[in-house]
Amino acid sequence: MKTQYLGLEAINGPLVYLKTPKELSFDEEVEIILSNGEKRIGNVITLNEDIAVIQVYEGTSGINTKDVKTELKGKPLQIKLSKEMLGRFFDGAGRPVDGLGELHDYIERDINGNPINPIARKYPRNYIETGISAIDGLMTLIRGQKLPIFSSSGINHNDLAEKIIRQANIKDDKNFAIVFGLMGAEYETAEFFRKSFEESGILSKVVTFQNLSNDPSIERILMPKVALTCAEYLAFDLDMQVLVILTDMTAYAESLREVSTLKGEIPSRKGYPGYLYSDLASIYERAGMIKGKKGSITQIPILTMPNDDISHPIPDMTGYITEGQIVLSRELYQKGINPPINILDSLSRLMKDGIGKEYTREDHRKLSDQLFSSYSKTQEVRALAKVLGEADLSELDRKYLKFGEEFENKFINQKQWESRTIEQTLDLAWEILKILPKEEWDKINE
């Protein structure tokens, strides 16, 4: 039996203050035992001579300062990992919530992980097909990449996430798994995903971690780390190709801010703590591939941009850490284009090395450059049309308008259940590009 400490000095939101026991270490896991026997987990976030600050992941309601006991675990937070996790549902701390009981055959691992030595990394070079033309054709997702989706409230990014989870596949490796982390979602959203996994028959490939909007918000701080520890286990111990989808990272960052404020830290931009960048990086950088290992971790974090503002600290810092971004557009969404991907704002940085003859198709690179360039030109023409009126446009400019129209309605737009192979996507792109005269194909002619 481990030593237990009786009583607390203070409680403030999700934080409790304990008189520092001698053997307590920084970032150690502790268990708070309520008088009714209920146990909650927490960890040490500040350690002083006299007082230790502990964040309690299930929240502090019902805890009093008198007869509560604290037990030290002697090590940082760990989770149980097993192959059996595939097809199961867990809470933000990695405990089963689907009523199917505990894991049987498991190992335990520190959720913090260590940074991958840059020299041990393998440069990501092959792609994951999502069956979505806009993504596969123009911002190809590469194995080992971190490619976030920037959404806004009221845009159907859950549909896009669901579509990606359902359709994503790797042609030459069937050892493919998805780790899905749902933070701060409503019950209906969680149900929507669960049903979709079951109905489409992919459930056995997915590990789900969920923290619903009525669960303690503080648990969200834990979830990305837990989910990624699971992903690392699947990828680097079991050689699987793992796609991690984390939504909504804005909810995560808000929980982080909540704790930071309660701790009395000096706030930086918009009240977020000064270490937000390092903290987000410690999550996103856990994507990648390692030399000599078969598996890979690819991440698609999804976040909602507060007030549609891409320069808000959360999307801004995310964009600086990740290798590109997929931006959703309210304008396209209102036009009924689905998924409403804003092509010009989006980018996959690793695409250049993971497409072409060896991976997708030889014409892919030039074709995608051309689509970007022509669609960008279309925006100029549209601006001009607003001033002059369409009737006064030149023949060529009208072709651009037509191109833009078709590109949005036929290429970007896709039915929720429609999956296109990379060949179909590229063929479709050629068909639409032919609206423009060949002289305008500056990138292809290069």
């Binding site: 520092t20 001698k22 053997e23 307590l24 270490s25 920084f26 970032d27 500040t46 350690l47 002083n48 001579e49 940082p76 913090n112 992980g113 260590n114 940074p115 991958i116 030595n117 840059p118 020299i119 041990a120 990394r121 440069y123 990501p124 000096i266 930086s268 931009r269 703590p273 000064g274 270490y275 960048y277 390092s278 410690s282 996103y284 950088e285 856990r286 990648g288 030399k291 290992k293 320069s311 808000h312 801004d316 964009g319 600086y320 850490i321 990740t322 290798e323 590109g324 971004q325 010009l344 250049k352 450059d369 970007f372 360039s373 960008s376 001033v387 006064d392 990138k443 002619n445 290069e446």
Partner: protein, 590 residues
Amino acid sequence: MDTKKIISINGSVVKARGEAGFAMHDMVEVGNYKLLGEVIKLEKDIATIQVYEETRSLKIGEEVVTTGAPLLLELGPGILGNIFDGIERPLNYLREKSGDFIQRGENVNSIDYTKKWHFKPVIKNGQKVYSNMILGEVVETPSIINKIMVPYGVEGEIIQIIQEGDYNVNTSIAKIKSLDGTVTEVSMIQKWPVRKQRPYGERLQVNQLLQTGQRVIDSIFPISKGGMAMIPGGFGTGKTMLQHQLARWSDADIIVYIGCGERGNEMTDVLEEFPKLIDPRTGRPLMERTVLIANTSNMPVAAREASIYTGITIAEYYRDMGYNVAIMADSTSRWAEALREISGRLEEMPAEEGYPSYLSSRLSEFYGRAGRVKNLNGTEGSVTIIGAVSPQGSDFSEPVTQNTKRFVHVFWALNRELAYSRHYPAVNWNISYSEYVNNLQDWYEENVSPDFIEVRQEVVNLLEQENELLEIAKVVGQDVLSDNKKLILETSKAIRVGFLQQSAMSDIDTSVPLEKQFAMMKSILIIYNYSEKLIEKSIPISVIKELGFFDEYKKLKYNIKNTEIYKFKEFDNKVKETLLKLEETYKNHI
């Protein structure tokens, strides 16, 4: 005992109390894991320490031991071609020791002490020597000779110098007796405090071009050897890509590339690619002249703060040997944010946007270390600093961009709209500038052509006029413009597509010699000037356009190889003849 005991732990900041006399910037070992840290504040008997490694699992009461010296870098043969973390620990060695993930508390030498180097003395017994004087040479890589120097502050007479032969870096290679009779043993390795600038003799004018092979830089917004430049740009504008291009193709002798708080996969890209790329000047792999410093964004923040200083100190070490060194720091914003993060943990009063008030002075100290100098040993060398800046929200008015802009002389502003339309490098020619153009006038005249500056100015003028015309055209439409204005637009477009845009993916276009850059500028001006004459004679621009020269020009960069510059003359002659002929036919018609 030189120890204090830990009294608080808050992220990367630890406080320790005790009688021991710690000094500011002392390097210390923290706790049972012996984590590396640095003293950053002293208050009575309490020292505040920033720890370069994860502080997880430290306990109150554990000991902090001072080494009695600041963080010292090891400088000697074996640095080139290597990749280090922010405090100069070799990452390949860390991987051998602790596997694919970086573990804590690994204290390793920066340089391999077991490797033997072939040392060749250039000095004899009895000779008088002084600080930084060259004692001998070591072929560090087939591209670079490391000049072994007398450590700074040592002066006297050589009483013993070792013979030519193979030695470890820590072997004593010389004994120097000073005036007061003390004898100092010197090895191939030097230790230098990371935050201290290495001294030099005097500053020289920065009037030599750093050739980068990038047209928009070399011809339009050039940087001198020993100069300083910044590359601000929001995410997705191609900062890192441009930094990589500069690291590849700059004609500096040595490149120090600092990946400060950036992406792990990007460092891997460099690591995989540089050994394969061949330096066009030496015919050797680029890696042989490159040092990489990688503190990716998930590595400890305190080491990120130090990485910039590690990089510049290594650069100064090679400068002292007489080399031209260029530093790419990607990104200085991450460094500034590391300052902010640590400052926040210290509970300092924040200034603008939460950055500490000393942000500006730290930036000026850093950029101030750039320059071309006469070294103490009489050689000439330079350190060029090219810092990427990642403005929050792509807003150039934020503190890091604004404060950096005050100190640097070259501003290569990357622009999101250009990047969207796949115009790379996305350097916005309307707001970028270089203050070195005048300094470099003589250099261009001597090395390229007497009329280089004039030709450059004409190109710049055309781009400026285009900018104004496009503003007008936005309102009235392009069709309303007169033919000579349309010609300006057509020419500028050709300049943008055919000259400013440069493809890093194309073997021909990725790096272009200055002769070709100059020929390209001249060619477009010939098209422009001859066409202008025709338009004066009322020949419509549509007729001129139909000849297809503008379109042909846009592809010249690919169609004329870097070794076939004479072909521009052929093209120019064809343009002249055709346009003159056109003039003739019109004359006959009228």
